[in-house]
Subunit: 267 residues, 2 copies
Amino acid sequence: RGRRIALMNQKGGVGKTTAAVNLAAGIAEQGRRTLLIDLDPQAHATLHLGIDPGALERSVYDVLLDPDDDPRASVVEGRPFLDVLPAEVDLAGAETELAGMEGAQRRLARALETLGPKYEFVLMDCPPSLGMLTINALSAAREVMIPMQAHFLALQGVGKLLETVSLVAQRVNPVLRVMGVLLSMHDENTNHAREVVADLEAFLESAEGGEAPWSGAKVYRPAIRRNIKLAECPSFGKTVFEYAPWAPGALDFRKLAEGLVAESDAR
Amino acid sequence: RGRRIALMNQKGGVGKTTAAVNLAAGIAEQGRRTLLIDLDPQAHATLHLGIDPGALERSVYDVLLDPDDDPRASVVEGRPFLDVLPAEVDLAGAETELAGMEGAQRRLARALETLGPKYEFVLMDCPPSLGMLTINALSAAREVMIPMQAHFLALQGVGKLLETVSLVAQRVNPVLRVMGVLLSMHDENTNHAREVVADLEAFLESAEGGEAPWSGAKVYRPAIRRNIKLAECPSFGKTVFEYAPWAPGALDFRKLAEGLVAESDAR
Ligand SMILES: Nc1ncnc2c1ncn2[C@@H]1O[C@H](COP(=O)(O)OP(=O)(O)OP(=O)(O)O)[C@@H](O)[C@H]1O
Ligand SMILES: Nc1ncnc2c1ncn2[C@@H]1O[C@H](COP(=O)(O)OP(=O)(O)OP(=O)(O)O)[C@@H](O)[C@H]1O
Ligand SMILES: [Mg+2]
Ligand SMILES: [Mg+2]
């Protein structure tokens, strides 16, 4: 059964898109069929892969707003083994347009019933909010990965994030689990980062064996180190593996992607 | 006449709060009466200064929702010469509660008629959105400073940001100017940062002498270099000047703050 992973954090600029794109690419490089869904009206994941949102005929917007259409018509080929359900600017309207519509929270889940079976991995890049687009991702996903920086202020938002995951798990999607935290833009040699990670791991450990959807969650390794190559490659429409295959950012994401595939194979 | 500066960028995690707090502190250290207004329901600026949002009797929420109350009752002393109009979690409701209310966009502007005259500088820390709280800041401000990272993806949001400033300037606040961009978390030794800054400066230069509210805007120097001390000090409720007065982050913010005061004195 395929894995469906929402990369989610309502805080902005924490590395969701960078992780969604490079993890999806890293998994596809191992020959595993992957679908990357861009749920952000900013369309950064779409841009990152060199796809022009303005030139698209169809996008994830159509999938969400026209549930009777075939969602496969909106999918484009991104890379070998990597398909993309792209975003474009109309998606900004979706938050309001979906409100009050029939089955609004489960539009993406419904589309994945048709789309999903073809892929071993489905990764969803969420916008920095807890609105209808993120709720659609959480209702369609089986797992949640939380990209975040190991900074004090970053810890402040985690409670609200987990509360939202809980609500969706209780009301809409009982299989939803938080698989863990992805440390992004990591300054590994600082005490501050170490202390924040220790705080996180202590919190997750205290949830083990309990009822919460994050019991069993862990801090994923390796952390993704800060590496300018990761900030440069989107401007060329390239993944880090294409742009700088031996840079620390590429090494970290390749290792993480291999870990995710190995995790799947072990199940 | 006092300066009223909105630190604004709808993108998250770009250094708005870090700049608002440390610039306000740097200006206050020069003996200039400063008011820092926290407009973010996350209350990060409030926390950053060691003020407990949960223990507050009154906050900026009351100023916005009860326009007939005296706004001075909600101000607390933060540091010598630095007063704070703090945020707390109820502010999350303000976006919705204000919608449709009488004079909703100008609640903060109206409060500053009473509050403002006492201060030489008023700095407003905006949330990462273009909603009612940010609109209140833009309607009350005279100048806009845009903290951002010199990254390709960061450039993508600037157009929308300037469009919003334009709309507020045309409809609500004709004196509003964009004074410039504050480069935050700056990796000064990378080509990528240099190229993005060159792009920004070229864009701003092309607007010079024109009609837009950002004609005359510049890229402020110095850039604020990436410095872990800036991420650490909020966890102690301290400004960078209190926590690590000789760190690069402190040096950069002190220089910037001195530049802002000199700019004022020259007017
Ligand atoms: N490890 C890293 N090293 C250096 N730069 C990075 C790294 N990860 C991300 N970046 C850069 O930091 C910025 C923010 O990252 P990204 O866009 O992935 O975050 P996000 O959480 O998706 O943001 P948003 O909330 O706006 O969707 C981007 O300019 C990106 O290129
Ligand atoms: N120059 C810097 N060097 C290192 N860390 C920094 C720097 N500036 C900010 N940070 C850290 O980066 C994170 C984001 O910064 P900050 O909270 O100031 O951004 P913001 O734009 O106010 O975010 P939000 O949109 O959530 O309000 C924080 O953890 C902060 O401590
Ligand atoms: Mg993103
Ligand atoms: Mg902030």
